[in-house]
Every structure is written in structure tokens, then in C-alpha cells.
Subunit: 477 residues, 4 copies
């Protein structure tokens, strides 16, 4: 283990002077991003308005594909059995740099671009995780790199991966499992945020399942002794999982909602269902914990005279960090700098802040870049599986008012304004210059690969946590 | 207490010879039922097809009102604040005999009139409690009595009460509370069944409530310590109620479904809801038990750092039996006899029976009348409240294949065939002759009133179990 | 089934005139009871003072055996593997009438013979179920019958069964299982009570078990994730049993205490135990319910990563009533009459009543005999198993102040005074005259046997609910 | 906050050269420890054999006081209301160095000094935390320092604090609350261990309570509806606390045992009790969490119709580390070195290791000193409260076979052999030389005080977590 770390450090020291310094010189790609700015903004707004849920992003996916096709990308939509997934390629030959593009929305978070709670549509969806910006920035960066490749005549390929259903659908896992990243040198991703940060970080592994219990219906007043309540099975399972919380590693996370709690009080419930997520920073721990949760479900059925079956819904690896790549992105981000608000944006930000509780960072922190340090996030992402297959790096830019949590209406609101657009364009610029750096510097790619191999270990073999299941295309219906 | 019982017995003995015997002589009213048979069958089928849920029975109510208006009834729809309730009157002056008419369907039980499970509409409603027959038979009996009143020139009023939302909506309670039965001498009702039975019986009192818990949302992986799960509140309440089961009178019934178990596993649920029914043969016991359930809800909130509020949804008194009236109906039913199946009906019955488990009565029991004996049903009905306000009597006829439970698709199926229609017409005939008996015999009415007063006790004062709440017109939306 | 009932009724009618009337004539046996009165009172007081727990009643058993041996009884103590059980016989040949004698005390109920709470010994045992009176009255009745047999020269045998550990030890079940009652014609028993009652009655079948869970100990603060709490297993089992309460016949009773809840909070409990009773008026239902409880225990282990084993502790059949015998005893009791208090006893009773809550019967009700009607008790007794093996009858006399519940300190107190002694002597008289009636009247014995056979049914085969286990001689240690 | 850290670092750098280096020169005190070796060993063995539980350590306390009095210490036993607490002083004037001495044993861990499970006494107590060694080493070190003070004529006081009931009794908290440490410059403590380690470390704050529920007794079969189970209250409380586990900071620890789970299954439990510990690295968090646990207890009572009261049993602050002092002790420990086993000890160690599971350190690690690094222990100690009152430092020596966990019979066994004695003497030597260092170096004391003040913060005010309660002198009875 120590070898790659030392090697990486040495190379980084060199890199800062030679490789990266040299790469940065080619600012031409930024001009191409500027050219795309208006189109990318429109693209983002269209997806924001569509606000389509996981695996149902037909309009959003079509819009992204159209944008890229117009800019000369070849589109492949047949690679996995997911109608809204695609791989768009430009340039030719090695090296191959991939850029991920997400575009799914979240249910129940419909919201206008105003600094107060105002749904556009009752119970409608909204881009509370900013994936409309994610998709648009990645597409714009891809377009800029494609133009740069053509302009400079360099060899190399840029690919934009249209990856659906990040929110609980694990779209990228199916794409990883299908081998779509196997020939890529480095994968770049980013995420909308309330700050600009390119530190190395990890996330938690996650495995989810729906546990369905089947009981025996009976009139709850006339013959309750003939019934066996499926909801009893759910509650017994939950009880035992809640007892289990004392006896798991403290970094574990287990959470559930009851998705079917019976139909009517006067009928002993024949069916009931509970939906679980199980997380931990390590994939092996998650696999073990999930098995214990399954045991609790089996016990819930056994002890209540019901029957249980479960369906694994999704599963993600933790993000495998890469210090070589993170340092490269961080240095680029520092050069590009943060985001300045104009007066209207300041006013909007102040109104948003008034709706949030807790200690808030200053609004001007949107203009800063966070210091470089490893961070362990407790959330999960399907980029995790990609990151165990190919050296991968990500970052965040301030697309939301500082202090805004993800999955909030405040995130939807800011994402529909110029605040979101500025963050998106910064992301596009950072993706573009970093891609060019990686295309131009074989040493960087090699150092990233060394670190990647070292972290995975020699015996690593990728096996999706979600097993062999097919994509749950209807999980949001 | 002993006085009225003895008095009733004496009067009954006389009644059997004199009053009732005399009344039965007037078979003219049965001819009027026969005249209505076809129209009543069409009426029932229309309501069966509409299959409208509680308080949403616009079409069904309109159809019933139209039928009665055409036959000279005066319709009053403004009496309570329920759009689908009505009171239809014919004749004039005292005595006043009321006939109840229900017409609401049950969710999720859509079914074709075939002897195998075949929904007409996915997740649609169906008449699994046969209220289409209930409404149509009562309307037809009312029409026949109205014709008889006109034909004979007798003084007296027949009223058909259109009572919505029996299934969990307690429509009759609001009508009772508003005094709509205060000037009635006797109320008749009936219910579709798998047998012909006019025994005296009671039901359980019932009080239901929705308990909504409010917690604090948080990202379930990133900051679970900042969240307080509303679902925890629900589960804690349920836990304590389940412990309580050991410490309630054994005839109590408490049952619940979780109607909101959280939105998504990765968010600590901000809101959750559980829907409870509490029953016992005595209304006072139900009031006490409900208070204990409320305490468990308060405790669930206290112990999980959440907030709780609840809404009483409905509440029914137990049926107050009346032996004088039950004996009258029973004797009439024995004279009218049961139902004979033709070959096609026999074949249908055999196919239905093949789909049911347990010890089944013989198909030919549809032709019999059950012996006279008191029966305690554990189910509930909003007729209960009527029965504590005015002397009330009910019965069942075999509208379903013997062995069919209520609230089953098999009940919907049979209710849409000639089996259901035959049972309905028997009910209409029994309602009609009994109404005429009651119009003609003041001694019967007085004896029924004596028994009624004796059973209620001198200090009884009616107070709806559901309190002052307004009808929950959207409880099925 | 109807045959034996009709037969019994016929015979009873005859019996009242002929058989029983004739039997009663022989009042000589009552004189023998009077002769024993003082010795019996001393015997009772000695056992009251010893207050020995189940299977540890060495002193009490010895005292009873000595009393009977002195009066010519042959004592057999080797019949079952229980040191404190015995069978004492007098007379010879058929018929054989058995009289049961209990003598075990209850833990924690030590109490002086005063009308206020005053333990004789901290945490000591006390005769809160009056078994000291039970044993002494039965022995005295046996002695009187033995003297009568000798005096009259009649053929016949009277047996006094010394039956230990009624309170949770099921001593009689082992004696029944060993065939000790197989050649007996009728068995008589009685029980201390707050009233005089010889109605036919039944009790609940009962099966109990200790469920022991084994987990993995760990430091609860330093390494809770390595521990698996045995107490979690207990709580999970209990949770599922509490859910089960909704889905059992309403006459079921399930109750438990946690007999081992872990040693110290800072150690994850390696062992924990819960002790369950399961009851229902029918033995088959109890067997089924117990299996469901075992399933819940297995599920509790499965879902918490622990291991479970259980030991059936005791098991009783319900009492099989016998109307023929009950009527005989009831008539005898009416002739003997109730109990009159003197002034001191009245004063004692008033003081006792002041310590009790609820609606109390009048003190003078000790002088009455309760009316004859079937009663279903929800408690259990190991006399149940005897009653399914041989026609059996029991009754109660007022040994406690009216209104006193069993298992109370008030019962211990009265049982140590002349109130208890008077009740005991009434019981001895009633046992004695009834035994003589049965010895003298073959028709009575035959009618009782007919009813017995009819109630058991032709296919009945006795199988102890506690299975093959040996007596738990240390269950009270 | 940064000031003291920088200051400490500077002083440490100096200290290593000047202060500490100079102090070490005075090896004379080690000769005094050697003189005490045999007596100290006998002292330890006597306390090991007494094995007295918290607040019942009359013999052990007397033996320690006698040892110290013989060596010229003045003994004060009246300072707090605890019969077995004492303060022994030698020397005079400032500075004052305190040495803590514990001596209580643990229940259920009686064990001979042999390498296999062999209790000396069934259910007896044993020194499974090595407090016999703790007390003896501290007394011996105190004696050696007293001799050194006399020999050298230096001004200064050494105090040995006899601190009872560390295991759950929080003896030191009452001594701290009474101000017994207010005039001390530095407090030293140590702990038996399976390794030699003088790193700075912290522990968790801890607050414990017994929650007693009061219900209504009733016959569980005859009248369960009249009972309210106190055990229901306990189980409801536990349920809500187990739900709470998801919503507490992950470093929290909450654990419980049920100390009273009811008397007999056939009685609805009138009383039940559960004993909770609540921990977290920060005292404020523990106070908050304990309040939430109390809320769950109140809710458990509210929701089950029972009544609850609770008694705070003990409460400890976390250890406040002191790097200045820890570095001093660590350097001294490195100079003194670890422990070498002879052949017999090696054989004993191998037999012990065969009884332990998991990854074991090598036996020879008893000869090593662990590297210097901060450690967060999740266990708790009442030294915590001392450490927030006066600069405090502790360490461990290998008194147990490497790999032995505390609170195991293996710890009792080794503690009764020469392995334990060697570890104890190393501890005595390290305490003695460190005390002399501190007596001789005012700069060290000042630096330790600076760090102490900095870590506490300017606004700190000591308030015992256990509040105003008096010592629970009978908590182990």
C-alpha cells in the first residue's frame, strides 16, 4: 500500500511544476466553453422544467442527446437495457476521458425559481439535487473538448455518459456492470453544491431492498384470530432491526420507510411492505449488514405467521478517492476561482437564507474554494461503482446559496436562477480544462492509475452489490 | 328492566294472534312490489355499475332520488351538510315508518359478475357489501308502500332515507345527530347476506381516528442524529397499543393500518400516519378504550421527540336490538320463505364455492330461514346510532351464494347476477309487508317503543361517539 | 353427545328422590368428622406455619402422612418420582373414592394471622391459596370415611392423594400420567374460597415454558458491535407475542415475566430468560398457541443473532365438569349450610374488608350457598388432568372473608384464623357425606361415569400437555 | 484554544531536555519502591482474596489504611460520607501530588489464580479489573515517595486517595464534589492492563439510572383487563430508546439490563425495573441524551397506564487528557521498560491465550511500551471528574496476559499470579519517579496547569453529572 502513496506524492510534486503547469497553458478550451454558455444554460433550464424521475427521463435524455449530436457526437443508446441511458463520443483513439452526466429529478419537490416555498405542481417532481445542471455542464464541457480536439488535431476521445436514475435507481451500476467504462482512462464527474470544493472524498456503500410480507386477510373485528397481519411482519422486522442498531459498527446507517401499511383498518392486512437502505463506508460491511437485515425480515415472518420476499432495489460502492486526480482538479479550481453574485443574486440569497435554520456560512463563501482535505460523506452515489472500475475524480461547485442542503426546495429554486447557471458554467470550465490536462499528460494518467490500482488492491474483483438484477425501470412509478 | 321484558312478551303473545295475524292479511302491498321488480333490478344494476365510494355517490344518489321522485316521493336533500344524503317521503301524517337505503361501494374490489376473480377496473371500487341491492330494495319497498297508502287511503307516512358512506363514513350518524329520525315511529333496515335471517342482533360500537405524527426531516445517512422520525412515533404508539391488548376486555377489538409510512428511505420521515378502529359491544367501553389509545399516541410522540395530532374519523353505536320488532319480521320472513336457484344460478354457486375455503353451508340453505336467536356481531354499522334514537329492526336475505363473506369479490360477483336480484326482491317484499303491519298496528308500535325505552334506560342521552365533527366528505379521496 | 346429557338428566331426576335422598340418611359419618375437628385444625395450623413451596413440602407432607397413618391408612410414597407425593388408603375393595389433598404455599406472601399486612418473614412464603386447609380437610374427611367404613363394615376404599406443587408444579399431572387414578371410581376435591359454591365449573388448560436466549457478551461501550444481546432475543420474542394477541381466540390468555434480564448494563447480556404461560378453555387450543409462541421465540433468536432453547415447565388440562356429581355435592352443601361468624370474626372481617377495593359481597354471604350454574374460570389447576381420567367433582367453601381474592395476604391471614378453620370443617363434612353417598349408590357412580365418557368423547386419549418431562423438583429454588 | 497548545509544545521541548531530564536523575525513590515490593505484593494478594464489592470494601480499605499508617501517613476517613473512602497524607506543604488508589471487585467473577475457569466461590466476586493491584501499587508508590521526602528533606506532600466503588459507584465523584482535590497540583492514576501504555487518552462521560415502573397487579388469566403491567412500561421505554439509537450521534452508547421483570407469569407485574447507562465522549451530550431517555421512560409509563420513577445511579465526566503530563509519564515508562516473563509465566500465558478468541498480540508484547498517540476509549471512569478539577494523568501496565480483556476471569486469574505482581511493581515505580519529577519541577506543573486550563476553557464550572444525590452505598447489595 505504501508504494503507490509515495509514488503519487513524488509525481504530484513534479506534476505541479511540470505536467499540470504545462497543461494549464492551453486555455483555448475555455473559449469553447464560453461559446456554449448560452446553449448550455437553455439546456439546463429545459431539463429543470421537465423534472423527470429516474428511468422516466425520456425528454431530458432526448434533449441532451440532441445537443451533443448537433455538436458532432456519435450517440450510442443500445449499450444497456435502459431507454434513457446513452454514451456520446467525439474525437478518436486513446486516451479516452469520460465525463458523467446525470439528469433525473426527485419526487415531491416541485418548486418555482423563487425564494419561498411555491410548488409549480402539487406533488410534482423537482431538481432538488441539481442534476439538470450536472447534465448540462457535462455536455457543455464535452462539446468544448470536442471542439478543442478538432481545433488542435490531437488524438484522443471525449465521452459524455448519459447516466439515468442516480437517485435510487443506480443507473451507472448497470452501465459499469455492462463494461461501458472498461476502456476509459479517467472518468470525471461533479455535483451541484453550496460550495466550491475539489477535495478527495469518499461516500458510503449502499444496498437497498423492498421487503414484502404476505399475511392472511380476515375481518379485523369479526374474525381477527383467523387473520395473520402482514403489517405485523413489517413491524416485527423493524423492531429487530432497531435492536440491531446497538450491535453494528457505529458508521453504519440503516433506514426505512413503510411503503405499504395495509389498506383499511377493518381488514387484517394481507400485504405490507417496508423499504430499507443499508450503508457503511465499506462495501463488505454493507453486504454483511444487509444479510442481517434479511435475517430480521425472515424472523419477522416466522414470528408472525406471515411470508416474506424481498427485492434488492439498488446498490452502490463507496467512492474510491484518487489524490492524484483530486490535486489536479483542486489546483485548476483554484485558478478558475469561485462565483461572484450580483445585487439581485445577493437579494435572492438573503431571502433563501431566511428560510434555513442553523449555522450558515457567509454568502460570499460562494466566491471561495474550500481547502484540500479528505472528506468522508455519509451519502451514496452510483459513481462509486465507476470509481472502482476506472480512476475517477469529482468536485462540487456553488450552484446553490451557501448553506442550502441538497434535496431541499431551496436547491430547486436556486438551480432555476442565474446562481445555478453560474455554478454550472464554472463546473463546465473545470471539467473542460481538466479533461485537456488529462488528454495531454500521460504521466498524470499513469500516476492516477497507479494510485487506483494500489487502493483497490491486487485481488479486487468487481461484483455489483445489487447482484444480477435488471434495472428497476418502474421504481418511481 | 324486567317490566318491559315481561310486557313485551305478553304483547307478543297477543300480537301473534291478533295484530300481526290481521296485518298479514293485507297482501296487496306485495303486488305493488312485484310491479316494481323490473325497475328495482335496473336501479340496483345501475348503482352496481357506478360503484361509488362513500360521500362520492353522486350518481347513485341521483338515480335513487329520481326513481322515488317519479313515484311521487317528496325529496329533501338539504337536511344535513352531505351532498349525497336525502330523505324521500310519501303519504301523510302519523305514523311515520322509515326505511334506510345505503348505496356506497368499497375500494379495491371492482369485479365482474362472473364466478372468478376478474376486476372490471384495476384498483376500482366494487359493491362488495351489496349496498346497491340495499338501496334499490328499500326504494322499491318504499314505492310499494306509497302505492298501497294511496290505494287504501290510509293515513301514515313512509320515508326512504338515502344514507351515504356507511363504510367508514358514518353517514347516518350525522343524520341522527341532526334529528332527522326524531319524529319516526319505527325504522326498518336490512342487509345483503348469504342467508335469510331476521333474528334480533347487535353489533359493536366503533370509534376510529387518524393519528398523524410530525417529526423532523433529515438526511438519513448524513445527519440522522438531527432527525426525529415521525414513523418512530407511529411504531411506538402501535407497540404500546399491542401491549394494551392484554389489558382490555376480551370482547374489545383494536385494529390499525399505517396510512403514511414515510416518503423515501433516505429521508428521516417528517410525517407519518396510522388509522385506528376501536370496538366493543358497549359504547362506554369504546369511549374508554379510545382514550387509552390516544394516550398511547401521546406517549409515542413524547418518547420519540415527535408531535402528534389526531382526527376522529367515525363512530357508531352498537345496534340496540328489539325483540318485538324482530319477532314480527321473523314471522313475516317465514311466511315469505327463502330463495330457490335455477340451474344457471346453481352452476354459478358451485363455481363460487370452489373459490372459498372452510366449512360451507349447503347451497340450498338459501331457501331456508335461520332460526330465531339473539346474535352478537362483532362488526359495526352506523344504523347503531339510529337504533338508539328510534325503535329499529333489520334482517338479512340471501343475496350472495351461501358461505360468501361480506367484503369479498364473490359478494360483488353474485350481487351483479340474478342471485343478488332475487335476494333484493325478497328484502323489498319483507320491508313492504312489515311496514304495512306497523302502519296498521298501533299496539305493535307501542310494544316496540316500550322495549326500546326499557333497553335504553331512563337516563340515556344520545351523544355521538364522533363528537361534533363535520362529515369527512373527502375520507375516500 | 345429546344422549348422555338426556340420560344424566333422567338419572338426576330419579337420583334426587331415590339415590341421593337415601344416601343422605347416613349421617353417622358427620360424627366422625366432628371427632377429627380439633386434630384437623392443628394439622392445618402446622402446615400454615410451615408454608413450604412446591416440591419442597417435606414437613407438610410428613405431617399429613403421620396424621393418616395414625388413623390406619396405608401410605405409599414410591408411586411417582416426587418425594412429597403420597397415596394413603383405607378400607378395601371396590368402589374406590379418591380425595385430593394439596399443601404447597406461595412465595413472597408470608403473613401473620392479623387483618393488616404483616409478613412473618421477609420474602417468606405463605398459604395464600389456602392449601393448608385443603390438605387438612381432605385428610380429616378421609379419616372420617375410614372410621365409617370400619364402623359399618361396608366394602369400599377411600384414598387420600397427597398432591404436591399445585402452584405451577403440576404435581397431579405426574401422578395422573403414572396411572395412579386409573382404578378410582370418583375423585373429590375442593378449594378454599370466599364463598360456598358447588356449581359445576371448568378452568383453562395451561402450558408454561421458560425460554432461555444465549447471545454473545461484549463490552457494551467499547465493542457493542461484537455483542449479540440475549435480552434482545427476549424482547423480540415478546414483541411478536404481543402482536399475536390480536390474532388468537379472545378467550386465550398469554402472560410472561422476564426472569433474567441481564447482569450489568455495561455488558451485552450473554443470557436472558422469559417465562410464559399460555391458556385457553380447550387443551387443543393451548397446544396450538404454545407452538405459535415457540415460533415467536425461534424468530426472536433468528432476528437478533442469538440462540434459544426452552423448557416446558408445567401443563394442565381444563377441568372437565360433571353435572351429576356437581348436583350431588350442591344438594349436600345446601343441607349442610354455610358459615356463621361470631363477633370476633365479624370484627376481623370488617378490618380485612377495609383493605380491599371494589364491590364487595356482604360479610354474611359466608352463610349462604351460591346458586347452581355452570361457571368458566379462567385460572388453571392440575386437577384438570385428573378430571379427564376419572369422574371428578369439586367445590369451594368460605375459608376467607367474602370478597378476598386468592393469592392475597388477606387470604393467608384469614386462613390462619377460626374463619379458615370453620370453612375447612365445612369442607371436610361435605367431602365425607358425599364420599359416603358415592360409596353407597352405584347408580350415581354409573351416571357420573356415563356423563364423563360422553364429555370426553369416544376417541379421547390422555396425553399430558407437559409431555414426557420429569417433575421440575427445583422449580421453586 | 491555540495558545495553550503552542505553549505546551514549547515547554515540552524544553522539558525533555531540562526539567524531565533533570528529574530522572533522582533514582533514589526507586530503591524505596524495591523496599516495599514484598509488602505491596502481600497487600495486593490480600485485597484480591477479599474481593469486596463497591462501597462494601471494609476489609480492603482497612488493609490499605493500615499499610499507609504504618509508613507514617496521616489518615482522614471523615471527608465524605463513605465509610470506605480515605485520604492518606505524608510530607508537608506545597506542592501536593495526589495518587489514586482503587480497590473494589466485580460481582460474579470469582476465579482462582489458574489458567482455566474455576470460581473460588459460586457467584462470588473477583478482581476482574485488577483494582487490588491498583490500590497496592499506589500505596507502595506513596510509601516510597514519603520515604524519599523524608530522606531528602524536601518540602511537598504526597497523598494517597483511597477511592471506593469505581465500578458503577462513582466514589471519586463524591470526593471531587466535596472538594478533596481542590488543593492538589497534579493527580496520578494508573490502571491494570494487558499492555504498557502511557499515551494521552480520554474516556466517555457516563450517566446511569434505574427506572422503576409501577403498575396494577391482577390475576393474569382471570382479570388481565384490570391489570396494568409494569413490565409493559419497561418494554415500551426500551422500544423507544431502541428507536432513538438511529437519532443520536454515532459515538453515543446506550445500554440496559432489565433488573426486575416481574415475579410470576400468572400475576400482572406490579413492579418492574430497567437499569440504563448513557455515554458519549462529551459530558454535555450525555446530559442531553439522558434527558431523552427519561422522556422515553415517561412515555413508557404514559402509554401503558403505569407510573415511573427513576434514580440517577452514577455519573462520570470523560477523562480530560493532558499532553504535558502524558509525555512525562511516557518518557519515564520508556526508561523503566516493560515486563519479562519467566518460563512458568510463559506457560501460564499460553494456557490463558488458548481460552481467548480473536487476534491476539504476542506474549512478548508485555515487554514493550506502546507508541505515544492519543486514544479515545469508549469506557468510562470516575477519574474523569477528578481530571476536570486538577491536572491528571494516567497509564497502564501489563498486569494481564496480552490480549486479555478487562472484566474477564482471565484478568482475575493473572492478577493473582506473579504476572500481576510484576505489572503492579512497574506501576509503583512509574508512579514514584513521576511523582518525584513533579515535586521537583515547577515548570512541569505550570505547563500541565496551563494545558489543563486551556482544555477546560475559561467558563468551565464543575457540576457532577449525578447531581446532588448521596453515594448509593447499597448499590451492590
Amino acid at each position: 500500500m505504501r508504494d503507490w502513496r509515495r509514488g503519487a506524492a513524488v509525481l504530484l510534486a513534479l506534476g505541479t511544476v511540470a505536467g499540470v503547469g504545462a497543461a494549464w497553458g492551453d486555455e483555448r478550451v475555455l473559449a469553447h466553453v464560453d461559446t456554449e454558455a448560452e446553449a448550455a444554460t437553455n439546456l439546463a433550464q429545459d431539463i429543470w422544467s421537465l423534472a423527470e424521475l429516474g428511468y422516466q427521463e425520456e425528454g431530458s435524455s432526448r434533449r441532451l442527446q440532441g445537443y451533443l449530436a448537433e455538436r458532432g457526437f456519435a450517440i450510442d443508446t443500445g449499450a444497456v437495457n435502459i431507454p434513457t441511458a446513452f454514451v456520446a463520443s467525439a474525437g478518436s483513439g486513446a486516451p479516452v476521458i469520460g465525463i458523467l452526466a446525470e439528469f433525473d429529478a426527485l419526487p415531491g419537490l416541485s418548486q418555482a425559481a423563487v425564494p419561498r416555498r411555491q410548488p409549480l405542481q402539487s406533488k410534482g417532481a423537482g431538481h432538488a439535487c441539481g442534476h439538470h445542471l450536472f447534465g448540462a455542464a457535462s455536455a457543455a464541457a464535452g462539446a468544448a473538448v470536442a471542439a478543442w480536439l478538432e481545433e488542435t488535431g490531437r488524438t484522443g476521445t471525449v465521452r459524455v455518459y448519459g447516466t439515468p436514475a442516480e437517485e435510487g435507481g443506480s443507473g451507472k451500476v448497470y452501465m459499469t456492470r455492462a463494461g461501458l467504462f472498461d476502456d476509459v482512462d479517467v472518468v470525471l464527474h461533479w455535483h451541484p453544491s453550496d460550495r466550491n470544493d475539489a477535495s478527495p472524498y469518499s461516500s458510503t456503500a449502499n444496498k437497498s431492498g423492498r421487503f414484502t410480507f404476505h399475511g392472511t386477510a380476515a375481518h379485523a373485528a369479526a374474525a381477527p384470530e383467523r387473520g395473520r397481519s402482514a403489517l405485523d411482519g413489517v413491524e416485527a422486522m423493524n423492531f429487530m432491526v432497531n435492536l440491531m442498531r446497538e450491535h453494528v459498527p457505529q458508521e453504519s446507517r440503516i433506514h426505512y420507510v413503510i411503503t405499504d401499511g395495509g389498506d383499511a383498518p377493518n381488514i387484517v392486512p394481507e400485504q405490507a411492505q417496508v423499504y430499507y437502505y443499508v450503508r457503511h463506508p465499506q462495501a463488505e460491511r454493507v453486504a454483511e449488514l444487509f444479510e442481517r437485515v434479511v435475517k430480521a425480515a425472515e424472523a419477522g415472518a416466522l414470528g408472525t405467521g406471515t411470508r416474506m420476499e424481498y427485492e434488492v432495489m439498488h446498490g452502490n460502492y463507496p467512492l474510491l478517492p484518487n489524490d492524484v486526480l483530486a490535486r489536479l482538479v483542486h489546483d485548476n479550481l483554484e485558478r478558475l476561482g469561485g462565483i461572484e453574485y450580483d445585487a439581485a443574486e445577493h437579494a435572492f440569497a438573503r431571502e433563501i437564507l431566511a428560510t434555513l435554520d442553523g449555522d450558515m456560512p457567509p454568502v460570499d463563501s460562494a466566491g471561495e474554494v474550500q481547502s484540500f482535505a479528505f472528506r468522508q460523506n455519509m451519502g451514496s452515489t452510483d459513481v462509486g461503482d465507476v470509481s472502482w472500475t476506472v480512476p475517477t475524480v469529482g468536485f462540487g461547485t456553488a450552484t446553490w446559496v451557501p448553506g442550502t442542503p441538497a434535496h431541499s426546495w431551496q436547491a430547486v429554486a436556486a438551480g432555476g436562477t442565474s446562481i445555478g447557471h453560474k455554478g454550472m458554467l464554472l463546473a463546465a470550465r473545470l471539467l473542460a480544462v481538466t479533461t485537456v490536462d488529462l488528454l495531454e499528460n500521460p504521466e498524470l494518467r499513469a500516476a492516477a492509475r497507479d494510485e487506483f490500482e494500489g487502493r483497490r488492491g491486487p485481488d479486487f474483483e468487481y461484483r455489483a452489490l445489487l447482484g444480477d438484477r435488471e434495472p428497476p425501470l418502474d421504481y418511481r412509478r
